[in-house]
C-alpha cells in the first residue's frame, strides 16, 4: 500500500460519460474530485492511426467480426471485451463491447441520444409488464434538457419521436442545442417511398456537431462514428473528463477499483484500487459514485463483500447484477430496386418508430426499426471475391451492390428478468487476479412475440420498396445497450438504488449509468444515463 493519501469530496469510479459528467459538474461547483479509471488514457490520433492500419476494420458493418479487432488497447489489467474477457454462461451470448479507457464506451458509440417517452416510465401500470420507474418523464425532463446541452445534441425540433407523424413528442421545454444534420440522399429517398405506407421517418437526435460546439468541429461525414470519430465532431466522454480536470479534478487512469469499503453505520469510507504492478491503494471521500458501466459496476459491488455487507455493497436486496437488459434485436438485408447509396454522411440517422407505444405493449415489446448507413465496400468486395468474381464484373458489382444493399435492424425493449444477470466468474481471473464478469442471459416469450411482429413489419417494408430480401438475422443480436443491473426502485427489498440513484443501503453512495434503468425501452440509453448523472451531481453538490 502506498503512503500517498488520496481523498476527495467526490470519488468517482469510471471515466465514461456518466462518471465524467458527475466529476465535471462537481469540479465546476468547486468540489474536490478524483476520477478513477481502470484503463489507460488514449489519444484520438493514435486510435485513428491504429484503425486505419488494422486489417480488420471494426465497424457496425461487420458485427460478426467484432471479436476480431478494436483499435482500442486491451491491457492485461483491464482486458478488452473484444477478446474473450467476458465469460458467457448462456444460453444466449451477451456480446456487449465496452471500452476500458479514459472517456469510456462513448468513444465508439454511434451517438444516438434519445429521450424516453412518458409511457416508458409506467410499463407495469399501463401494460402489466416489467417495472414502473419511481420517477416520471416530467421529473427527468429538465435534466434531459441539460444533458442535451452538456453533450451537445443535434436534433430536429418539432419532430414526433413517438413515430406517429405528429408534432413535438415527447414534450420538451427547450429546443435542441444544435439543428439536425442534413439527411443523406438515402434518407431522403427512402422516406418518399415508405411514407405513403404509413411509415413516418424520424431522424435520430445525436451527438454529432452541426456547428462548432465547445472544442468540437462540425461533422464531416467521415462515416466512422464506430469505432472512432477521427475529428472529434462526435461527443465522447473525454469532453467531460477533460473539463473536470481543467476545473481541478484528479484523473487516475490505470487504476482498477476492486473493493468498496463500508463501515458499521452503512457509510462508504473508501474504495481500493490496484495499479498494473499489483500495488494496492486506498481513496477516501465524502461521496462515492460508481459509474463503471452496466457490467463492471455490478461486478465491483459483488466483489466488495465486507463484514457489514456480506452479499456485496448495496446488495441487501440481492438484485445487484440481476435484471440485465439490452435492446437485442434482429436484422434484414435487402437489395433495393434502385440506387439508394447508403454510406453517405454519419453511420446512422433514420429510424422508424411506428411500434414505439400502444396497447400492443401488453403482448409484445416496443421496437425501433433502423437503417445502417455504413460504407459497405469492404464487406461487398470480400463477398464478391470469395465467389471468384473478377475483372470488369467485379467493379460493376461493387458499385451496384454498394448503391443498393440496404441493411435494416430492429431493436426491442427487453424486460428486467432476475435470472438475466452478471455474476463473478468462478474460474476466470484477469492479470490482477480479479474475477472476470460472467453473464447468464436468455430471451423470453415477450421478446419472441416482438420478433414475430417485427418480421411481418420488415417483410411489408421490403414489399413496399419492391426490394429483394437477401437475408434475415433472427437470432438475438446484442445491441450494446446493457442496463438494469443496479435497478432503480422505491422498495429497498427489490431494487438497488432509489429515485435519486442513491444506493438504498448506503447514504453516500450513488450509482451512475444505464445500470440504474428500471426499464430498457428500445432506445439507445446514453442520454437517459446522462440526465440521471446530472441529477446525481445536483444532489451531491447540494449535500456537501
Amino acid at each position: 500500500m502506498t503512503s500517498e493519501k488520496l481523498h476527495a469530496d467526490v470519488v468517482v469510479v469510471g471515466s465514461g460519460v456518466s462518471g465524467g459528467l458527475v466529476g465535471s459538474l462537481a469540479a465546476r461547483a468547486g468540489k474536490s474530485v478524483i476520477i478513477l479509471e481502470a484503463g489507460p488514457r488514449v489519444k484520438r490520433h493514435d486510435i485513428v492511426e491504429t484503425y486505419r492500419n488494422a486489417p480488420v476494420k471494426l465497424s457496425l458493418a461487420n458485427m460478426k467480426l467484432q471479436g476480431a479487432g478494436s483499435p482500442y488497447p486491451s491491457m492485461p489489467y483491464a482486458p478488452s471485451t473484444y477478446g474473450d474477457y467476458l465469460e458467457q454462461l448462456g444460453p444466449v451470448p451477451f456480446k456487449t463491447s465496452y471500452l476500458r479507457v479514459v472517456g469510456g464506451t462513448t468513444w465508439h458509440f454511434g451517438s444516438a441520444l434519445w429521450r424516453l417517452i412518458p409511457n416508458d416510465f409506467r410499463l407495469q401500470t399501463l401494460y402489466g409488464r416489467g417495472r414502473d420507474w419511481p420517477i416520471s418523464y416530467a421529473d427527468l425532463e429538465p435534466y434531459y434538457c441539460r444533458a442535451e446541452e452538456e453533450l451537445g445534441v443535434s436534433g430536429v425540433d418539432g419532430q414526433d419521436e413517438g413515430g406517429n407523424g405528429g408534432g413535438t413528442f415527447p414534450p420538451r421545454s427547450k429546443p435542441f442545442p444544435m439543428s439536425g444534420l442534413p439527411a443523406p440522399y438515402f434518407f431522403q429517398r427512402l422516406p418518399e417511398q415508405l411514407l405513403p405506407a404509413g411509415y413516418h421517418p424520424v431522424l435520430e437526435p445525436n451527438g454529432r456537431a452541426t456547428r462548432p460546439y465547445g472544442q468540437r468541429p462540425v461533422c464531416a461525414g467521415n462515416n466512422n462514428c464506430n469505432p472512432v470519430c477521427p475529428i472529434g465532431a462526435k461527443y465522447d466522454g473525454t469532453r467531460h473528463v477533460d473539463q473536470a480536470e481543467a476545473h481541478g479534478a484528479t484523473i487516475l487512469p490505470n487504476s482498477v477499483v476492486y473493493r468498496i469499503e463500508d463501515d458499521a453505520s452503512g457509510q462508504i469510507v473508501a474504495v481500493w484500487f490496484k495499479k498494473p504492478d499489483g500495488t494496492e491503494h486506498r481513496v477516501t471521500g465524502k461521496y462515492f459514485v460508481i459509474a463503471a458501466h452496466a457490467v463492471e459496476t455490478p461486478k465491483l459491488l459483488l466483489m466488495s463483500q465486507t463484514r457489514h455487507s456480506p452479499n456485496g455493497i448495496a446488495n441487501s436486496s440481492d438484485q445487484v447484477g440481476r435484471n440485465l437488459m439490452d435492446t437485442s434485436g434482429i436484422s434484414m438485408g435487402m437489395m433495393a430496386a434502385e440506387d439508394m447509396w447508403p454510406g453517405q454522411g454519419p453511420t446512422e440517422l433514420l429510424v422508424y418508430l411506428n411500434a414505439r407505444d400502444g396497447e400492443f405493449r401488453k403482448n409484445y415489446p416496443q421496437y425501433k426499426t433502423k437503417l445502417r448507413n455504413v460504407v459497405p465496400t469492404s464487406q461487398i468486395a470480400s463477398g464478391l471475391l470469395s465467389k471468384g468474381v473478377v475483372g470488369k464484373e467485379l467493379d460493376k458489382q461493387i458499385r451496384l451492390q454498394s448503391a443498393r444493399s440496404i441493411r435494416w435492424a430492429v431493436d426491442f425493449e427487453m424486460l428486467p428478468l432476475p435470472t438475466n444477470r452478471v455474476i463473478l466468474s468462478a474460474e476466470k481471473k484477469d492479470a490482477l487476479g480479479l474475477p472476470v464478469p460472467a453473464i447468464q442471459f436468455d430471451i423470453d416469450d415477450y421478446w419472441k412475440a416482438g420478433r414475430e411482429a417485427a418480421q411481418i413489419d420488415l417483410k411489408r417494408i421490403a414489399g413496399v420498396l419492391g426490394g429483394e430480401v437477401t437475408k434475415f438475422g433472427l437470432k438475438p443480436e446484442n445491441r450494446q445497450h446493457p442496463s438494469g443491473t443496479t435497478i432503480m426502485g422505491s422498495d429497498p427489498k427489490n431494487s438497488v438504488v432509489d429515485e435519486w440513484c442513491r444506493a438504498h443501503d448506503h447514504k453516500n453512495l450513488f450509482i451512475a449509468g444505464t445500470s440504474v434503468m428500471s426499464s430498457s425501452s428500445c432506445m439507445n440509453p446514453t442520454l437517459t444515463a446522462a440526465a440521471l448523472s446530472i441529477r446525481i451531481a445536483d444532489t451531491i453538490i447540494s449535500e456537501i
Binding site: 485513428v48 484503425y51 486505419r52 492500419n53 488494422a54 486489417p55 480488420v56 476494420k57 465497424s59 476480431a68 444534420l181 442534413p182 439527411a183 443523406p184 440522399y185 431522403q188 452541426t210 468541429p217 462540425v218 461533422c219 464531416a220 461525414g221 467521415n222 462515416n223 466512422n224 472512432v228 477521427p230 475529428i231 440506387d339 447509396w341 454510406g343 453517405q344 454522411g345 455504413v374 460504407v375 465496400t377 469492404s378 461487398i380 468486395a381 470480400s382 471475391l385 471468384g388 473478377v390 475483372g391 470488369k392 464484373e393 467485379l394 467493379d395 460493376k396 461493387i398 458499385r399 454498394s402 448503391a403
Partner: protein
C-alpha cells in the same frame, strides 16, 4: 536458355549477382521460369521481380496505373504468407505469356488449374482489399488505396476520410 540456367546455378554462390540475374531473367520473359529446375526457382525466389508482379497484377485487375511501390509491398507480403508464392507467380506469369492473355476474363475462361486460379485470386484479393492473409495472420498493405474503393469514389468516402463539413445530401450521379 541453357546458358542462363547455368548462370543462375552459379549465381547461387554469388548473392549480389543473383539478384541482378533475377531481374534479367524477368526481362527475358517469364517463359524461362517454367523451364527452370528446383535450383532455378530458389534463385528466382531471391529476385525482386517487381515489374513482373506488376505486369501480372495489371492483367489480373484490369488496371494499368497500379502503384509500383504498393506492388512491391503486396508481392513481399504474399511471399511472407505463402513461401512458394514466387514459384506460383512465375507459373502464372508463364501461362499468361504463353496464352497471350490480355485480361483476367480471358485468362479465367481458359482451362486454368485450380492452384493457378487460386494464385490469381490471392493477387486480385490483395489489391482489392488491401489485405494479405486471413484472420489473425491478416496484414494490411493499403487502406484508402485498396482498389475496392475505386468503383464508388464519386459517391462514397473511404471511412475516416470524410468529404468535409456537412458535405452530403445531393442525389448521387447514376
Amino acid at each position: 536458355m541453357i546458358r542462363l540456367s547455368k548462370s543462375l546455378t552459379r549465381s547461387s554462390v554469388m548473392p549480389e549477382r543473383r539478384v541482378m540475374l533475377g531481374r534479367r531473367s524477368m526481362l527475358l520473359g517469364c517463359g524461362v521460369a517454367g523451364l527452370l529446375g528446383a535450383a532455378g526457382y530458389s534463385s528466382v525466389l531471391y529476385a525482386s521481380d517487381q515489374t513482373d508482379f506488376l505486369k501480372v497484377s495489371s492483367i489480373l485487375t484490369g488496371k494499368d496505373d497500379l502503384d509500383p511501390t504498393l506492388a512491391a509491398r503486396y508481392e513481399a507480403s504474399l511471399t511472407r504468407h505463402q513461401a512458394d508464392f514466387p514459384k506460383r507467380l512465375n507459373i502464372l506469369g508463364h501461362i499468361i505469356a504463353q496464352g497471350s492473355y490480355k485480361d483476367v476474363e480471358s485468362l479465367f475462361a481458359s482451362s486454368l488449374m485450380p492452384s493457378d486460379r487460386e494464385t490469381a485470386m490471392s493477387i486480385i484479393s490483395a489489391w482489392y482489399l488491401g489485405v494479405v492473409g486471413e484472420a489473425d495472420q491478416a496484414e494490411l498493405i493499403a487502406f484508402s488505396d485498396a482498389l475496392m474503393y475505386q468503383p464508388c469514389t464519386d459517391v462514397l468516402v473511404v471511412p475516416s476520410y470524410g468529404a468535409g463539413p456537412l458535405a452530403w445530401g445531393e442525389k448521387p450521379p447514376v
